[in-house]
Amino acid sequence: MIESSAGIKLKKMTNLSCLRQGECACITGIHAPDDIRQRLQSMGLRTGREAEVIRCSRQGPMQIRVGSLNLIMRRSDAARVSITTGK
């Protein structure tokens, strides 16, 4: 659950807000102050989990599935979640 070590790899990765409808990716970290990171983690956005974008509205939030959870989140918050789409 320690994200800071991911710094070097960051270039190859993208974040959750870049995904389009129907795309999947693996969460690699959350880049936010401690309290916000804790909030996002306790809502199910944990490193190693698979996230799938179910729906994006044009300006509004995205709907994301993580495990058994269905979440809506703002793009700006999704941008804090780094992912890897690597095979």
């Binding site: 909030r39 729906r55 509205s57 709907q63 809506i72 918050d77």
Partner: protein, 595 residues
């Protein structure tokens, strides 16, 4: 007295379980170390009375949101004999960490895996015995909505309650520090005891969402749904309202009027024309209010509110609020007080305060009574719906204006992440229970605020002795004279200003006060109102009532939730100022235009 606390994440059916366990006997109360009121009930379990406390829904014992702090404070300061932890069977991978946190505290909970019916439909299988052995605490499968497994669960809770010893509070306080490796352990448990399809597909929910969350049609459909709800409330409510009025009249004619001879005219005037008619007129609105909450409960239960947050977040973000704020404004249409309490899920103080500044402008059901009353009295049947629609528009505009004005000062970085529950058919029992709570709520208010307000208004408008009732020489008349410089420019007459003073306490008093003041009711009162205000004045009056302040309970809630006199003071000053300015602008420009 044993004490049982119910803990769980939001959307686990925690409240449904609480309601099923306690029936309709719940009440709110204060607890040591906790700054807010919690819902609790006393029930008989086994051979003894047990206090059951419903704690707020939390995601994490160590989170930073107010709700999470409340649960921690409660556990640190109150002995709890047993924790009942409610988990959502369809999301155990996400929920087990909370269970492990609680077990680690040494609290030995009874774990209720709720919504087992939904889990079965989705093809999830749960090895409850395995979990029970591994976690070393009772695990029960149930559906609190439908009652499946409920009786067994109650027996297990009862048996465990008398068997276990809770850890001393000191140990608990020490244990309430961060704990590691919980997620890994939770994942291992899920792998061992829960079998679920690789992808959970809720066909029905996805199909409905495909339409209701449509990028273009979503918002219009939402407003259409809201419109239909209001339409249904009025269509069904009007005949019920007449029925209650008829019943009260019948009671008056049969039981009260024969008493006229046996008491002095002054006492009769006070008891019947003042108190009985005043409260009766307010009571005739109760069916509309109950219907309103009925429909609100259905919308809330169905899972649609989370969709409303999704649809409106982009708009709300521009005003420094988020989709949850919009949902709170909607809840505020019922009553502002629970909507204010609902902001506890927000972690950032700035966002919470901004939402709490905005919510009091929601046109709540008590204000709605005043508006229905006035529009029915003064406007034609075809005009009335437009006037009401205009008031809702004004309510939204005031909320948005407030957010724009204060948004710059109250900026936040609160993440907007919200769980999207599946659609569920509302359960009649829950909806009825909600209706019952509203009736109880009204009776409580009627027996305190409304009676006191109506009595005071009657005294003010009938004394000193020898003055003409409701005239300029009464105490009320003097008060009206004194308020004249402020209220004259917005077209509110001296008589109506007394009503406004009491409307400050509760909006229901406004109507009751008009009856008590004039000794008139029904058509006669409508006729009197027409002499007090023309249509422009009526709208100005309603705008003022909408904005000037919600009610004393709302102000008290703002104060207790923000714990800041300054915040509550600014909120009150802003709404008073805004109300006056809006009414002034409307009234004076309408007059200038020759209306």
């Amino acid at each position: 007295m044993k004490r049982l606390a119910i803990v769980g994440m939001p959307n686990t059916g925690k409240s449904t379980f609480f309601n099923r366990l306690t029936g309709s006997s719940s009440r709110v109360g204060n607890w040591p170390g906790v700054t807010v009121e919690l819902l609790s009930a006393r029930i008989v379990l086994g051979n003894d009375a047990v206090d059951v406390i419903d704690l707020p829904g939390i995601y994490d014992l160590h989170g930073f949101a107010e709700d999470e702090q409340i649960v921690r404070d409660f556990l640190e300061n109150n002995r709890v004999d047993l924790i009942t932890l409610v988990l959502n069977a369809t999301q155990l991978d996400h929920q087990l960490p909370l269970a492990l946190q609680i077990i680690k505290l040494g609290l030995q909970p009874v774990i209720l895996v709720n919504m087992i019916d939904e889990a079965e439909k989705l093809g999830i299988r749960i090895d409850a015995d395995g979990l029970e052995r591994d976690l070393n605490c009772p695990v029960q499968l149930l559906s609190a909505r439908h009652g499946t497994g409920f009786n067994e669960t109650r027996d297990v809770i009862s048996a465990t309650l008398y068997r276990t010893q809770p850890p001393p509070l000191d140990t608990l306080r020490e244990n309430l520090h961060a704990d590691d490796e919980i997620v890994e352990r939770a994942d291992a448990l899920v792998g061992r005891y829960i079998t679920s399809p690789s992808k959970l597909v809720r066909k029905m929910t996805e199909r409905i969402d495909h339409v209701l969350l449509h990028p273009v049609l979503g918002l219009p459909l939402f407003f259409l749904a809201m419109f239909l709800v209001f339409q249904a409330v009025y269509t069904l409510g009007a005949p019920l309202q007449d029925a209650v009025a008829w019943l009260l009249d019948l009671l008056k004619a049969q039981a009260l009027e024969p008493l006229a001879g046996s008491m002095s005219p002054a006492l009769y005037g006070f008891l019947v024309d003042g108190l009985y008619d005043g409260i009766g007129t307010v009571a005739s609105f109760v069916p509309v209010i109950i219907l309103f909450f009925f429909f609100m409960a259905i919308v809330e239960d169905s899972g649609y509110l989370a969709r409303a947050a999704y649809l409106t977040d982009a708009l709300m973000a521009r005003m420094g609020l988020d989709g949850r704020g919009f949902v709170m404004i909607l809840m505020g249409f019922g009553c502002n007080v629970p909507a204010l309490m609902g902001t506890r899920v927000m972690r950032s103080r700035a966002l919470r305060w901004l939402s709490m500044l905005v919510i009091p402008f929601s046109l709540c059901s008590a204000r709605l009574q005043v508006f229905i009353f006035i529009t029915t009295a003064l406007f034609t049947a075809s005009q009335a719906p437009f006037v009401l629609f205009f008031m809702y528009l004004a309510s939204f505009s005031a909320a948005f204006l407030t957010a724009l004005v204060f948004g710059r000062r109250l900026k936040s970085d609160e993440p907007f992440v919200l769980e999207m529950p599946p659609y569920r058919a509302p359960i009649l029992r829950q909806v009825l229970l909600r209706g019952w709570h509203e009736i109880a709520h009204f009776l409580r208010r009627a027996s305190t605020f409304i009676i006191t307000g109506v009595v005071l208004v009657w005294i003010l408008t009938h004394y000193p002795e020898g003055s003409t009732p409701g005239g300029a020489d009464t105490w009320a008349g003097l008060l009206g004279e004194w308020l004249k410089p402020a209220l004259d420019p917005i077209g509110i007459s001296a008589a109506m200003s007394v009503v406004l003073v009491f409307g400050f306490v509760a909006k229901e008093i406004v109507i009751g006060a008009m009856v008590a003041m004039t000794g008139l009711e029904g058509d006669a009162l409508n006729g009197y109102l027409a002499t007090q205000m023309d249509l422009v004045q009526a709208i100005s009056f309603m705008l003022f009532v909408l904005l000037y302040t919600p009610c004393l309970s709302t102000i008290a809630t703002q104060l207790s939730e923000s714990r800041s006199w300054k915040f509550a003071g600014i909120s009150l000053a802003w709404s008073l100022g805004l109300a006056w300015l809006v009414s002034f602008t409307f009234y004076q420009s309408a007059r200038l235009l020759g209306y």
